[in-house]
């Protein structure tokens, strides 16, 4: 009996040990931690750029500094492997923050580059994806963020703060994968450009690259991206400076803060053709009035402001819709996806020709703006002689 038990125990232990999957003993100091991965393209080869951290010192004087390595290669993974060779250390991906693609890669189709990231079991799905605008990936990685230690950490910090910054829609790899593989939605990626800041180039995240399928078709600037944020319902906080007419006193720039934003997109079928109804309700706070002689305790004035805001945003949304519908023919709002979900019958009918229907899809737009926070704790400042 004892012998049988021992045999069972041995077999169980062996099964547990041997069939547990593959992993390996590594020494942590032999790893080169990859913070950022970038792909650029010089046909026919890809240029793979890694931002790594160089740790040195040991003992009590450990130092950490970012290091950018690049190589050209036939594919992303082989480039990464080649860079391990250059660094003399094994590239370790799970701590990567960002994945950057140049405009050319995006225009030729991001699938080649993203596929490795999605497939790799080392790179996490939470990596932020960006497209660089008017600069190469290597230039971005070699720029100097003013506070953060490395560019990747800088971009990570910006992405996490999106709700307070606005101007772009951050996207992680797993979200991009979903958008790419879904029907009736075109992915949008945040863009990075470089600005001069006291003699140094600083990466700034602003604007959006619009994709059609996996190919980039055009840019949206920061303001357009804000409107896109509103329509996608990802806006948390954002400031808008709008020239507002105050009674007979003329126009004054007033800063409003968005404090709430509900968007409702309804796919419709009208006269046998697809259409959409967008209903946007926004709540505003008044952030800064400046010299404007406005009195928010006067309901008439408030009503006038709300009407002006609604008109302003309606116009801007129309402009954006025109751009994505006519210029790009890219369904960035995922109206097709909504059709598929809510009106599957109609989608079966239109789905295959969505590219044809989308550019002149009639959109009913209803925008409601409410000023809910007047920021009034006392009467506004008035300078008297």
């Amino acid at each position: 009996m004892k012998r049988v038990n021992l045999a069972r125990l041995t077999i169980l232990t062996l099964i547990c040990v041997l069939l547990a999957g593959c992993w390996d003993y590594i020494e942590i100091e032999t790893l080169e931690f990859v913070f950022g991965l970038g792909v650029d393209r010089v046909t026919p080869e890809y240029i793979v750029i890694l931002e790594m951290v160089k740790t040195s010192g040991g003992g009590q004087h450990a130092q950490v500094e970012p290091k950018v390595l690049s190589t050209s290669s036939g594919s992303v993974s082989s480039g990464g492997a080649a860079l391990s060779n250059v660094a003399g250390l094994r590239a370790f991906w799970p701590h990567a923050y960002v994945f950057l693609m140049s405009e050319q890669v995006a225009r030729e189709g991001i699938l080649d580059a993203v596929e490795y990231i999605a497939r790799s079991r080392q790179v996490r799905g939470t990596v932020w994806v960006f497209v660089t605008k008017d600069c190469t990936v290597e230039e971005v990685f070699k720029s100097k963020p003013p506070v953060a230690n490395s560019v990747s950490e800088h971009l990570n910090a910006i992405s996490l703060m999106q709700e307070n910054i606005s101007g772009f829609i951050p996207l992680q790899v797993w979200e991009l994968n979903q958008d790419l593989t879904k029907e009736g939605i075109s992915p949008v990626l945040p863009t990075i450009r470089l600005v001069h800041e006291r003699g140094e180039l600083v990466p700034v995240v602003e604007g959006t690259a619009v994709l059609k399928g996996d190919r980039m078709v055009g840019w949206l600037d920061g303001h357009e991206s804000d409107i896109l944020c509103l329509l996608k319902g990802v806006f948390e906080r954002g400031f808008f400076v709008i020239n507002t007419e105050v009674g007979e006193h003329g126009r004054f720039p007033i800063t409003y803060e968005i404090v709430g934003n509900q968007v409702d997109i309804k796919p419709l079928v009208k006269d046998g053709r697809p259409a959409a109804a967008i209903k946007l309700t926004m709540q505003f706070g008044v952030e800064e009035v400046g010299r404007a002689p406005i009195n928010f305790r006067d309901m008439q004035q408030t009503d006038s402001v709300e009407a002006q805001l609604a008109t302003h945003f309606k116009d801007r949304i129309r402009e954006l819709l025109h751009k994505v519908q006519v210029e790009f023919n890219a369904d960035v709002l995922g109206i097709g996806q909504l059709f598929r979900r809510k009106q599957p019958e109609a989608w079966r009918h239109f789905g295959s020709d969505w590219d044809v229907y989308f550019p002149d899809l009639p959109v009913e737009l209803e925008v409601r703006c409410q000023v809910v926070l007047t920021g009034l704790s006392s009467a506004p400042l008035r300078v008297r002689d």
Partner: protein, 512 residues
């Protein structure tokens, strides 16, 4: 006089069986030449009772085991000043002396040589009177005793400061003082063919299950060993699961703890010569209970108990988890931390597992070195340990700084649960080896193995994990939490107590 006049040339009579002879000379001969031969520590003080009928007597005692002034004042002086009536014969002499002359409170009569041998070692005086085949034993114990002081192994901030000493009688009295009821019972046994050590079994008649008492007694009686020098002998000889490193018999130096355990229906065993009392059955929860828990506010007590559980986990698991993370799963460490660990480990020549084991060993060496050293030298050890082995090793890149933190944390946390500290070292080492071989997977394996071991153990018929694996409120009241006293209505169920009711009156029974 009449008896030995007939012997040839005053030669001692044959010893016979074991009985004490009426002849003083014979007795002395056999004692000196046979029973206590070559033992120079036995004193024979010969004297005579006073006139008109002086009779030869001898007072025998073991040197330094008796109070000498006591023997001189209350035994020798009265004996020498009084006279034994002439008509007394044989045993009457001894009885007369005990009843009318000796001023000692304890007096016994013995008739065998072997008893003299046994008794003398307990520190008594034995009086042999010529012509009397009975020896009188007078109590005069007077060896050096340690005072009742605070036990060094279990000091408290709040609570009684008395601790057991090496004297069994004193120790029993310390417990009896706390449980002054006729239900408190003491049974005595003698263990050890050579040492004849007195062992006392303590229990409460109206609470403790008699089966438990009988079982304890049976196990102790079954011990066949030459000597018992500490209660540790008995602990190891009678405990369940002897091959498991987990203790199944509790030990304490404090009478208040013994009283509390006995009140819960446990049995305590005190061993002469050892300040450590044994309590049984012993469950795993008890390792995390401290007597101060019951003297302090129940909320703070509960918090401290929680700290003890966490510390035990920390001390056993930290190095293993550290090794698993840095060697197998660096992706699970937060990015900033992984970078700084990596930077700290640059230039360190040894792999993580070697570092962990070496530093753990160094810690144990320092501890072992410090334990048995006099205080002043012990401090030198800690200075050497802290500065030379800690700081210098890091500066010289022999060890990485995070490793020092891990080892330090492990070591300090180990002292929080002192009763399991020695054991924690073994658990830690086995988990480290498993983690080094298989990563977190191996670590989890090890934890499961220990849980299996624990759940297979029992102590005196009580499952070792009792009260930790139940959801009955009255069983859980004294495990991770220490509920207020007014809610500890019942005594622990698992001890099968006769009388479970602990609180009477306003609290009443609150559960089944």
């Amino acid at each position: 006089m009449f008896f030995w006049k007939h012997t040839k040339k005053g030669e001692p009579q044959p010893r016979g069986l074991d009985d004490i002879s009426p002849s003083l000379r014979t007795n002395l001969h056999w004692l000196k030449e046979d029973i206590f031969v070559h033992d120079q520590a036995i004193a024979y003080r010969g004297f005579k009772t006073s006139d008109p009928h002086p009779r030869e007597c001898v007072l025998i005692y073991a040197d330094n085991m008796v109070k000498h002034e006591y023997l001189s004042q209350f035994v020798l002086r009265p004996m020498m000043r009084s006279s034994l009536p002439k008509h007394l014969r044989g045993e009457e002499l001894a009885h007369y002396a005990a009843e009318r002359i000796l001023e000692s409170d304890g007096a016994e009569f013995i008739t065998r040589y072997s008893e003299i041998g046994d008794k003398l070692m307990d520190g008594v005086g034995v009086i042999l009177i010529d012509g009397c085949p009975v020896a009188v034993v007078v109590d005069a114990q007077g060896w050096a005793k340690r005072a009742v002081t605070e036990p060094p192994s279990e000091s408290v901030v709040r609570g009684p400061r008395q601790g057991f000493s090496e004297d069994l009688g004193v120790n029993i009295s310390l417990v009896r003082l706390r449980l002054s009821s006729p239900n408190f019972k003491t049974r005595f046994l003698h263990v050890g063919t050579q040492s004849k050590t007195r062992v006392a079994i303590l229990y409460l008649d109206n609470v403790t299950s008699m089966e438990l008492v009988e079982e304890v007694e049976r196990r102790i009686k079954a011990i066949d060993i030459d000597a018992v020098l500490d209660s540790g002998y008995i602990q190891e000889l009678i405990q369940d699961s002897p091959y498991s490193p987990f203790p199944t018999i509790g030990q304490t130096e404090r009478p208040d703890v013994v009283a509390a355990k006995v009140l819960e229906g446990r049995v305590a065993v005190l061993v002469d010569g050892s300040p450590f009392a044994l309590t049984m059955p012993y469950l795993l929860v008890e390792a995390f209970q401290a007597n101060e828990d019951y003297y302090n506010h129940w909320i703070t007590a509960t918090f401290h108990r929680l700290v003890r559980y966490i510390s035990f986990f920390v001390t056993t698991a930290t190095p293993a988890i550290y090794i698993a993370l840095i060697s197998y799963h660096p992706q699970l460490i937060p990015t900033n931390l992984v970078i700084s660990i990596s930077a700290a480990r640059k230039n360190v020549p040894f792999p993580g597992i070697v570092e962990v084991i070496a530093m753990g060993l160094v810690f144990e060496i320092l501890r072992e070195g410090g334990v048995r050293l006099p205080r002043p030298i012990g401090q030198a050890i800690s200075i050497v340990g802290a500065i030379v082995l800690g700081d210098a090793a890091v500066s010289a890149s022999l060890v990485s700084a995070p490793m020092i933190i891990v080892v330090g944390l492990t070591g300090v946390a180990g002292f929080v649960v002192p009763s399991l500290n020695d054991l924690a070292v073994l658990i830690r080492l086995s988990l480290v080896l498993l983690a080094a071989a298989l990563g977190l997977y191996g670590f989890v394996f090890g934890v499961i193995a220990f849980l299996l071991l624990l759940s297979s153990m029992e102590s005196f018929g009580v499952p070792y994990l009792s009260t930790m694996t139940t959801l009955v409120p009255q069983d859980l009241k004294d495990t991770v939490v220490r509920v207020p006293w007014w809610q500890m209505v019942l005594r622990p169920r698992y001890l099968a107590s006769k009388d479970r009711q602990r609180l009477q009156g306003q609290a009443g029974r609150t559960d089944r």
